[in-house]
């Protein structure tokens, strides 16, 4: 009886979420771009002469895909989680909850809006980075696929965290103690082959590592893991979080008492 898809409802919510971050572009696109640029200039300058990760690839070039994916990870998570917690705290989530919008429509709208934000941020970082470094594009399809999967995955995680958190500081905690360390420890700044053995093993349990490694493979045609493995793990993680997010929404966890 509730079958079907409220396409317009979904699209309206999606478009609203996109407009929400576009209204504050400085904060949502420009700031992450500048942050990534600072990392590039500081670390790139400092380590350029000392580190060569892949043969024939400058350290600065190596850094750029990592920074792009790190920006995707942080910004897509922030996009859906902050929007949902804000709506919960101001109470205006009620307008969506009163409408005939299903869990799937709700979830898809927030995740896809996060994907748009992720791609925009990644493009912005790319656009400034290529002013400073030469960047090959070995497998453009892989670049696109991993950018979308990474954005969707963290958008989904943001939905889950936004539903779960009751206060902003819980969300900040999630960001500072989970997202940030995992993204720093995933090989943004180094190849995990440079790590001592045990840390290398541990890195293989970090899902962000596969996102970054597969994404980087798209640029250089080489990576720490095989692209098939990176793709499988990344898709698996996305499906897992999608399942969890939909389950929480269907149960009405915290948002329908």
């Amino acid at each position: 009886m509730n079958a079907g898809f409220n396409a317009r409802g979904f699209y309206t919510l999606f478009a609203k979420e996109v407009r929400r971050f576009l209204k504050v572009t400085v904060q949502t696109v420009l700031t992450p771009m500048v942050t990534a640029l600072l990392y590039l200039l500081v670390f790139g300058q400092a380590l350029e002469a000392h580190v060569e990760v892949y043969a024939g690839v400058s350290y600065s070039a190596f850094l750029v895909p990592g920074l792009m994916m790190m920006s995707i990870i942080q910004n897509t998570f922030a996009n859906s989680s902050s929007s949902i917690i804000q709506s919960k705290m101001t109470g205006n989530l009620v307008f969506v909850l009163l409408a005939p919008i299903s869990s799937l429509e709700f979830f898809a709208a927030f995740v896809l809006a996060a994907v748009v934000r992720g791609l925009l941020v990644a493009l912005a970082v790319y656009a400034v980075a290529i002013l400073f470094v030469d960047l090959p594009l070995a497998h453009p399809w892989a670049i696109a696929v991993f950018a979308v999967i990474g954005s969707a995955t963290l958008g989904a995680l943001g939905v889950i965290a936004g539903i779960w958190a009751d206060k902003y500081d819980q969300l900040a905690g999630f960001q500072n103690f989970f997202i940030l360390p995992l993204s720093f420890l995933s090989g943004v700044f180094y190849s995990i082959h440079a790590l001592p053995g045990v840390w290398q093993q541990i890195s293989h349990f970090n899902p962000f590592f596969y996102l970054i490694d597969g994404f980087r493979w798209g640029f250089f045609g080489q990576g720490d893991a095989s692209v098939a493995l990176s793709l499988s793990v990344s898709l698996g993680f996305l499906f897992l979080l999608t399942g969890l997010g939909l389950y929480l929404l269907l149960k009405g966890y915290k948002i329908r008492r």
Binding site: K23, F95, L97, L98, R257
Partner: protein, 307 residues
């Protein structure tokens, strides 16, 4: 005819608090229904369950025949809810917010004319492009009403729409609610202003501590307590009250006397005649019709005297 809202054995518990203890009632189509009860009685909780914002632990609610759990899409299309809290999205203007709400309900630009009409009717036209953040409380309240009506629901639920609203806006909201009712909408209203419920509603339910205390037509309810109060001031403070009036007297303070009269059995004329024959001169007189307020206080046990 299917009821506009059909509520069957609804239970809801919040931790140790039993907020609804098995509520059953029907809200007939086309009625102007008053859902009354003191703070914390469970009115908003019941509304949340009909709107799908909360889930009943047991029992069922149907809106225009659609179960709010198994046929939630249809039931939400049939229902427009004005929430009790003044919530709004600070990111958007009034018109944007209405278009968004319209879109959530699957409506596109073809609904724009109706949105403009709502803006007009609720005197929001000149604020249509203002950000929600910059509106007064009363205006935000009107935007909430417009949002609830944007998908043309058959059943409109107003959860305390006139709380904290000035006299002028309150009257204009009453006119608007009456108009919606005339146009065929079923209206469910909660309010703490009992004179408001008395003048607007034709059917009344009273909740108290999660239980349905009464559910009746306004006429029947008022007829249950057919009393009115008569205040009389006489020209002196020491006198002998005529025998016939003693049983009617509820209080005497100096030269001010208060009587409780049965609407059908006692008349003001008799009281005046009795006072006159005792040699007393009436200097002032006023009456109070006992209304819903008294009925309400007695049924919810908030009145000082027993029923």
């Amino acid at each position: 005819m299917t009821s506009a809202i059909s509520i069957q054995q609804v239970h809801k518990r919040f931790a140790s608090l039993q907020a609804l203890k098995g509520i059953s009632m029907e809200v007939p189509q086309g009625s102007f229904f008053g859902l009354l009860g003191p703070n914390g009685a469970g009115k908003s909780t019941l509304i949340s369950i009909m709107a799908g914002l909360a889930r009943a632990d047991a029992g069922a609610i149907r809106v225009m025949g659609h179960d709010v759990v198994s046929a939630w899409r249809q039931s939400r299309h049939a229902l427009g809810v004005v929430p009790q809290e003044l919530v709004y999205d600070p990111f958007f203007s009034v018109r944007e917010v209405l278009r968004l709400q319209s879109g959530y309900f699957g409506r596109g630009r073809e609904n724009d004319a109706w949105i403009e009409e709502l803006l007009e009717t609720l005197s929001l036209s000149d604020k249509a492009d203002a950000n929600l953040q910059d509106l007064s409380g009363g205006m935000k309240r009107r935007v909430l009403i417009a949002q609830a009506l944007v998908h043309r629901p058959e059943v409109v639920v107003l959860d305390e729409p006139t709380a904290g609203v000035d006299v002028e806006l309150r009257q204009s909201l009453w006119r608007f609610a009456r108009r919606l009712h005339r146009e065929g909408h079923t209206i469910l209203l909660t309010t703490h202003y009992l004179e408001e419920a008395e003048s607007l509603c034709d059917e009344i339910a009273i909740l108290n501590h999660g239980e349905l205390v009464t559910r009746d037509s306004k006429q029947n309810l008022l007829a249950r307590y057919p009393w009115r109060t008569l205040h009389i001031s006489v020209d002196r403070s020491t006198f002998q009250l005529p025998e016939a009036l003693v049983s009617l007297l509820t209080s005497a303070d100096d030269n001010c006397l208060t009587f409780r009269l049965h609407r059908e059995q006692d008349t003001i004329g008799e009281v005046l005649a009795a006072l006159q024959s005792a040699g007393l001169t009436v200097v002032d007189l006023s009456t109070e019709e006992v209304g819903l307020e008294e009925v309400f206080l007695r049924l919810t046990g908030q009145s000082g005297e027993g029923a």
